[in-house]
């Protein structure tokens, strides 16, 4: 049983929590309200368990919780120790309460039961509690009862953590398996949580008058929301609506976008190093402090961990830019900062010096931020300039523009022959399938066979999963409708401007993400104009209205923007977020977007979540 470090390490916590909170309130919608509500609930629960406490964590939850509260908050409420949930005995800790923070999963209940039974024999003075996140479950309580430990718990409660404020305009449920559950296993638990989360959101930010949606899951969530609203009938929400509309989008309406390599700065960081719960781990070599007299020091071996969000001014500026436009911004910033430091030579009077000194902390922060991002950009540049990256991108763009999507692609063949990472292959093959509205049986079988022979027959189930999810499919109809969709929705733009973009397609250097196009077209000119294409995409599209209590109808000022919440069911990429932010900032856009999702994804982690890992025991 290990102590948890990382996001929960006790240093730098107070400062962080203040910082965290601030950037959430910058946006169009103050998401800090949501975070504060979540924090309050956490404090209330902790206070219910009087006395010193140890928290036993379902390890999966530590990341999401880090977005809500730092260790300091827990410490203030007498949390003295933290452990990871593990089978066997609980480690010794001189505390009065043991609190299990867990997801409602049966296998975790078995571990908890084991912990509790092992504990009882030692000494009986400790109190046990369970906090289910995000919801308590009868099934789990039944399991605890079967194990004979249900009675040992003083408190069994739920901590409703559905939508976690991730950034000023971004909410995530951080539910990794949502896509797999919904589209592969027909398990709609995460959709129920989504609907519940949206109800919580409406309780805080007012009823959302208009709901649009596309896809089966979107329909299901909207139905549940309307039903839940009826269930709460009588307790009218008296808050002036903050959101004007909600757009629910199924991930499987746009399977193409996550498969493509994201080309924004943040997207690339995620593609290469994967951002988890707002943090990224980077190879440490580039981040060594060049201090004089320490030339010969050993390089650090621990990866460098950085928090990435809009609290960092520079990052907020460059995160959504096409990577090719990041360099110029960084060098411009470098000049400004060094000029600012040069100012000290001009500071003659005491007053001037004082003013300079007062700006120093801010300047130093800016300088270290610049240094960090210059290093990251260098790391990424090494990759983007590599031949394999270029070749891969070329093939992706060929597929997206519809070049030779109906034949076996020789680049993919070569990659398989050289045993490139399987996920890379799967991304490409799936992309070809999606861009061709399915592959000819012969082509599909060829790819599948190549994959099985090269990477092992155990991937048969993974391939079957991809087929079930619609990512890989045999061509059924003779007509490939992807070109129609591409042309109608203008998914491919030839003259893109990466430096000063005029269209969302800059985020993929030419490809405009389908999902975001749908959001854009919904506002202007409306979906009616693209009925034909909408019919080609899976699932129904719909519009629902929610009655507002009289007096809460918003009177919009001239030129005031509408606020739309776009909810991606099954995940969203950073590039899509960048595209939506771009639309928010367009002068004549008229709409600002807040983005919510079950999970922030990229092609790699998305495909990974669909894989079935089979390993045989050693003979």
């Amino acid at each position: 049983m290990t102590r948890i470090s990382g996001a929960w390490s006790s240093h730098d916590t107070v400062v962080l929590s203040v910082k965290m909170a601030a950037h959430l309130s910058y946006g169009r919608v103050n998401l800090n309200i949501l975070r504060e509500a979540a924090r309050k609930e956490l404090r209330e629960f902790l206070d219910k368990c009087a006395g010193s406490k140890a928290i036993v964590w379902d390890e999966y939850l530590t990341g999401p919780f880090g977005l809500i509260a730092q260790y300091s908050l827990l410490k203030e409420h007498e949390v003295e120790k933290m452990f990871t949930l593990k089978a066997g005995r609980l480690p010794a800790a001189d505390v009065k309460n043991i609190i299990f923070f867990v997801r409602p999963r049966l296998e975790l209940m078995d571990i908890i039961a084991e912990n509790v039974i092992g504990e009882d024999r030692q000494r009986s003075q400790r109190d046990f509690h369970i906090l289910f996140v995000p919801r308590r479950s009868l099934l789990c309580e039944q399991r605890l009862e079967e194990q004979g430990v249900l009675g040992s718990f003083i408190n069994i409660e739920e901590y409703i953590l559905d939508l976690i404020p991730y950034d000023g305009d971004l909410l995530s449920m951080e539910s990794e398996s949502a896509f797999r559950e919904c589209y592969l296993e027909n398990d709609q638990t995460s959709l129920y949580h989504t609907a519940k989360g949206l109800m919580t959101l409406q309780a805080l930010y007012g009823t959302i008058p208009q709901i649009f949606g596309k896809g089966e899951c979107a329909r299901h969530v909207a139905n549940m929301m309307l039903r839940m609203k009826r269930e709460f009938a009588g307790s009218q929400n008296q808050i002036l609506p903050v959101f004007d509309s909600l757009l629910l989008l199924d991930r499987n309406v746009d399977l193409l976008t996550p498969l493509a390599t994201q080309l924004t700065y943040e997207g690339l960081i995620d593609e290469v190093y994967s951002i988890t719960n707002g943090y990224v781990k980077l190879p440490p070599e580039k981040f060594t402090q060049k201090k004089q007299g320490e030339g010969g020091k050993d390089l650090p071996t621990e990866p460098k961990k950085l928090q990435l969000n809009s609290a960092e001014e520079l990052y907020a500026e460059i995160r959504d830019k096409n990577f090719n436009a990041v360099g110029s911004v960084l060098s411009k910033k470098a000049k400004i900062i060094s000029a600012a430091f040069e100012e000290r030579h001009n500071a003659k009077t005491v007053g001037e010096i004082k003013q300079f000194v007062s700006q120093l902390p801010h300047m130093q922060a800016a300088r270290s931020s610049l240094a960090n991002h210059t290093s990251i950009a260098e790391l990424i540049k090494d990759i983007t300039t590599s031949e394999s990256f270029f070749d891969n991108l070329t093939v992706e763009q060929e597929f997206m523009t519809g070049v030779d999507t109906d034949k076996v692609n020789s680049y993919i063949e070569d990659c398989i022959a050289q045993q490139d990472p399987l996920i890379k292959i799967l991304r490409l093959v799936c992309m070809q399938s999606v861009c061709n509205n399915g592959l000819k049986q012969k082509v599909l079988d060829y790819y599948k066979r190549e994959i099985l022979q090269t990477y092992g027959y155990e991937h048969l189930l993974t391939l079957s999963n991809l087929e079930k999810a619609g990512l890989l499919k045999p061509q059924t109809s003779t007509r490939n409708n992807y070109p129609t969709i591409r042309k109608t929705l203008k998914l491919w733009m030839e003259d893109i401007n990466e430096q000063n973009p005029n269209d969302i397609s800059y985020v993929y250097s030419g490809y405009a993400p389908l999902s975001v196009r749908l959001a854009q077209l919904l506002v202007r000119p409306g979906w009616r104009s693209i009925e034909e294409v909408l019919k080609m995409l899976p699932g129904p599209h719909f519009e629902e209205r929610q009655q507002l209590p009289s007096g809460l109808h918003k009177k919009r000022q001239q030129g005031e923007n509408r606020t739309t919440l776009v909810f991606f069911l099954g995940g969203v990429t950073y590039a899509e977020i960048a595209a939506l932010r771009f639309l928010s900032q367009m002068e004549d856009g008229g709409t600002e977007y807040v983005i919510a999702t079950t999970k922030l994804i990229n092609g790699t982690c998305w495909i990974k979540s669909l894989m079935d890992k089979l390993e045989a025991p050693p003979f």
């Binding site: 049966l106 109190d127 009868l138 959709l191 039903r227 022979q453 092992g456 045989a616």
Partner: protein
């Protein structure tokens, strides 16, 4: 409501008029004539009004209102309100006729022209009219009585402070000696259990449990048939707890109906309960017991039973002389005295304590009392002193010498109205003493022998506490108080108030006084959620017990009254109906429940599992679906269960997920049931990986092949057959070369064979598995390069024309740091790939040449990106020139 006074006053006036008849003056006569004419006319107006109204309405209902105004005008006493319209009408009609006759009689007699008809009417018709009028008046008076009582009209409140609101109805046949007595807080019911301790029990000598209202009205009485009762007490919701010697606690409602029972733990069975207490806290009602082994066990809330066995008190050999339960900082603790020692027991520890400022001569504590709010503690010592302090034993308030050395029979905290000072009331057989903070005491030589009278008296004090008033003052005081601690204390009292209003409403509800409860809720503007809705719910729960009414009628009546009131839970009402054995009614009521999630548990209870499943699915709450599914699984036989699932795809897929993680074999059965061969195939593939031996794995894979064939999934079947084939090969190689091949992919196997120089076997696999040429070439050259078998590589390159071209040869050589070998192949590379090949071996000049030759700008750019500006100046110039040239063309 002046109606009752009318008849008499008017009759008096009548008499006066007839006396003065003898000799009136001319003026007086004129006045009287005018007066009588006006009155006659007036009454005629009323009569005509009545007749007209009757004719137009065709019924006498509402007639009164049509003549109300003239009637009031002509009648001296004002009619304020009408309680009983029929009776009013009766006497109004009677008097109207009478009056018309009377006044016309007066008028004519004043004028000395009395027609016979009028004279006859006046002295004959009264026979009918007077009894009629009197009856009507009496009826009206009777109907008005409750109103008078309610409004206090005509009542004069006497200036005395004590008002007897109701009479005590006590009718106790025997004394209260040997009785267990419990009075519910806030003037609730009182329970008596007589001779509970009697051991030998014959049917005739069974103790009697009696329940009285606070006013002494008997509410229930029945012989006690269970075990020996140690203690009785009331819960906050007016339920009676009877704690038995064996640790069983029986719960009765205030009408003496048995509710349920629970046990205070197994340990008690051997050691028996020697003493027990019932206490109240924010969590509800709790029970504390001390066993024969002198161990304490607590249950803080009997509705959510969690037994806590408190730690042992070290060295405790005899029962504690006295003890008390108190709630502090959300924790329930026990204070106990044993000899001269005091201990505080909480969940974790037993802490010895010494009250500040206690007389060191004290060697024993006789009595202990905690105030109702758990703020204060009083101790009666063997020196005859009462120590009063805060219950945390940190502060002493005062001490008082009672000069009595014997233990008091009872000691209780009380607070006089409008006094901030709590005081303690002590009682001995013939003495009642109130001790306060101010070193003074009031002694009441007790006149009644029965100690319980004192209890009554104390309770009265409690009732007169004027709680709401005090609470209001506390809130105001909190506003002026700047010290946060004090503020908190004051505000805590406020919480108390909310509790009491709730308690009040609960009380009314438990006594089935629903309309009154609703009126109070409305008057106090209690949010609907906590107020009216709750009362309505209770009403509905009561309503469903009325056995004589049919289901439809009740369901309809309840829905009409409750509608969509916020916070109404139809499922709770339905649950009640089900408890009363009315399943059909319960189902009807559940239909009104908007939250489908709430419907499910009850439907399950009622064994309507199919309906429960649909409702669970409707709610979208997958956990609920799981719950129903597990329930169905246990209730039904497998076939029916599977059939049920089959009709509910959502439930089916959830159950599949469950089985996948928990019950693999059931999963197989499920797929079998559905003839889902594809999934069965997948299932066997997955299962094969769990097998320990190659044979078992092969068998599982063979099953998979069969299923895939049945599913007409040719590809999967072939792939799995291939996998089996590979396994066989691998096993052979493993035996032959004594090297692990199993679990490698085909690609890896061939690679490994090539690396080991087993070209023949590699070739065999290549043919047997029809590996595409391209991939085989890739495989072979990278294996050879890895092995650094350059000779073999060269040989292979010349064996036939490479299907992958020769750039890969260059690349693999470079990859393994052999540029020399790499260069051998550069010349063989096709023109299109030349630039790349040159670049790979680092030959920039050649690369530039090739690029220029190809006139490809992109390739020029590629080369350009590899040049370093300092060292390759000449090349850069060349490239730039070439680019410029290319652009020109």
């Amino acid at each position: 409501m002046a109606a009752p006074a009318k008849g008499t006053s008017r009759t008096a006036q009548n008499d006066v008029a007839s006396i003065k008849k003898k000799g009136p003056g001319a003026l007086a006569t004129a006045y009287l004539v005018i007066y009588n004419v006006v009155m006659t006319a007036g009454w005629l107006v009323i009569a005509v009004g009545l007749v007209r109204a009757y004719l137009s309405k065709g019924s006498y209902h509402g007639l009164y209102y049509s003549i109300e105004r003239p009637l009031k005008f002509f009648q001296t006493g004002a009619l304020l309100e009408v309680q009983n319209e029929d009776s009013v009408l009766l006497f109004v009609v009677a008097w109207t006729v009478t009056e018309i006759i009377r006044y016309s009689f007066y008028t004519f007699s004043l004028l000395n022209h009395l027609p016979y008809l009028i004279k006859w009417a006046r002295y004959t018709l009264f026979i009918v009219l007077y009894p009629m009028g009197v009856t009507g008046e009496l009826l009206t008076i009777y109907a008005a009585l409750p109103y008078v009582q309610k409004t206090g009209l005509y009542s004069v409140t006497l200036p005395n402070k004590k008002i007897e609101l109701y009479e005590m109805g006590w009718n106790l046949r025997e004394g209260l000696r040997d009785c267990l007595i419990a009075a519910a807080p806030y003037g609730g019911p009182i329970a008596l259990l007589k001779e509970s301790q009697r051991r030998e029990r014959s049917a005739s000598a069974r103790p009697l449990l009696e329940i009285y209202s606070a006013a002494g009205v008997p509410m229930a009485s029945f012989p006690w048939k269970s075990g020996v009762v140690v203690h009785i007490g009331w819960t906050v919701s007016d339920d009676l707890l009877c704690i038995q010697e064996d640790g069983t606690v029986l719960i009765y409602d205030m009408f003496g109906n048995f509710r349920r029972h629970f046990s205070m733990g197994n340990e008690v069975l051997q050691n028996q309960v020697i003493e027990a207490k019932v206490f109240h806290s924010a969590y509800g009602t709790g029970v504390a017991i001390v066993t024969g082994a002198f161990r304490f066990t607590l249950a803080t809330n009997i509705d959510d039973l969690k037994l806590r066995r408190l730690p042992e008190v070290p060295g405790l050999q005899v029962a504690p002389s006295c003890w008390a339960v108190l709630t502090q900082d959300r924790q329930t603790k026990v204070v106990l005295a044993s000899g001269k020692d005091l201990y505080v027991l909480d969940n974790t520890a037993c802490t010895p304590v010494t009250p500040p400022g206690i007389d060191p001569q004290v060697s024993s504590y006789f009595q202990m009392a905690v105030s109702f709010s758990y703020k204060y503690l009083a101790l009666f010592t063997d020196t005859g002193h009462v120590w009063m302090g805060t219950s945390n034993l940190k502060e002493k308030l005062s001490e008082f010498d009672t000069k009595v050395r014997s233990p008091p029979k009872q000691m209780v905290w009380c607070r006089r109205p409008k006094s901030q000072q709590p005081s303690v009331v002590l009682m001995w057989d013939r003495l009642l003493l109130v001790a306060g903070k101010c070193k003074e005491s009031i002694k009441y030589p007790s006149q009644c022998k029965e100690s319980q009278k004192a209890d009554e008296y104390l309770r009265e004090i409690k009732e007169q506490n004027l709680l709401p008033e005090a609470v209001k003052q506390c809130v105001e005081a909190a506003g002026f108080e700047h010290e946060p601690e004090t503020q908190k204390i004051l505000l805590r009292v406020r919480e108390y108030k909310q509790m009491t209003v709730q308690v009040l409403i609960d009380r009314l509800v438990f006594r089935r006084l629903y309309p009154l409860a609703i009126e109070i809720c409305r008057y106090l503007k209690i949010p609907e959620f906590q107020g009216v809705s709750r009362v309505l719910k209770h009403w509905a729960c009561f309503k469903v017990q009325q056995k004589e009414e049919p289901d439809d009628v009740i369901a309809c009546a309840i829905n009409q009254k409750l509608g969509d009131t916020a916070g109404i839970s139809y499922s709770e009402i339905a649950a009640r109906a089900y408890e009363c054995g009315r399943t059909e009614l319960a189902i009807k009521l559940l239909e009104f429940e908007p939250r489908s999630g709430e419907q499910v548990p009850l439907l399950l209870k009622m064994k309507r599992s199919q309906l429960a499943l649909s409702k669970a699915i409707e709610s979208g709450d997958t956990d609920l679906v799981y719950t129903v599914v597990t329930y169905l699984k246990n209730e039904m036989n497998r076939g029916d269960f599977f059939m049920t699932l089959r009709n509910q795809p959502v439930a089916l897929s959830l159950y599949r997920q469950f089985c996948k993680h928990q019950e693999q074999n059931t999963l197989k059965d499920l797929f079998n049931q559905d003839d889902d061969h594809q999934e069965l195939g997948n299932f066997y593939v997955r299962a094969s990986y769990g097998e320990g031996s190659v044979e078992a794995r092969m068998a599982a894979l063979q099953n998979a092949v069969d299923e895939f064939n049945k599913a007409k999934n040719e590809f999967s079947a072939r792939a799995t057959e291939e996998q089996m084939k590979l396994l066989r090969w691998q096993r052979r190689f493993q035996e032959e070369f004594d090297k692990p091949y199993l679990d490698c992919s085909l690609h890896e196997t061939v690679h490994s064979l090539l690396q080991d120089g087993k070209h023949k076997q590699a070739e065999q696999l290549y043919k047997d598995f029809r590996i595409p040429d391209k991939r085989f070439w890739w495989l072979k050259i990278s294996a050879l390069a890895e092995k650094e078998d350059w000779e073999e590589l060269e040989k292979f390159s010349k064996s036939k024309k490479s299907p992958i071209g020769y750039l890969p040869f260059v690349e693999v050589c470079v990859k393994h740091q052999n540029k020399y070998e790499a260069k051998k192949y550069v010349t063989k590379v096709t023109l299109e790939q030349k630039v790349k090949a040159h670049l790979a071996v680092g030959d920039l000049e050649q690369a530039v040449e090739a690029a220029i030759e190809r006139r490809s700008e992109s390739e020029l750019n590629l080369v350009l990106s590899r040049c370093t500006p300092t060292t390759d100046r000449a090349l850069l110039d060349k490239i730039n020139r070439a680019r410029a040239g290319a652009l020109k063309k």
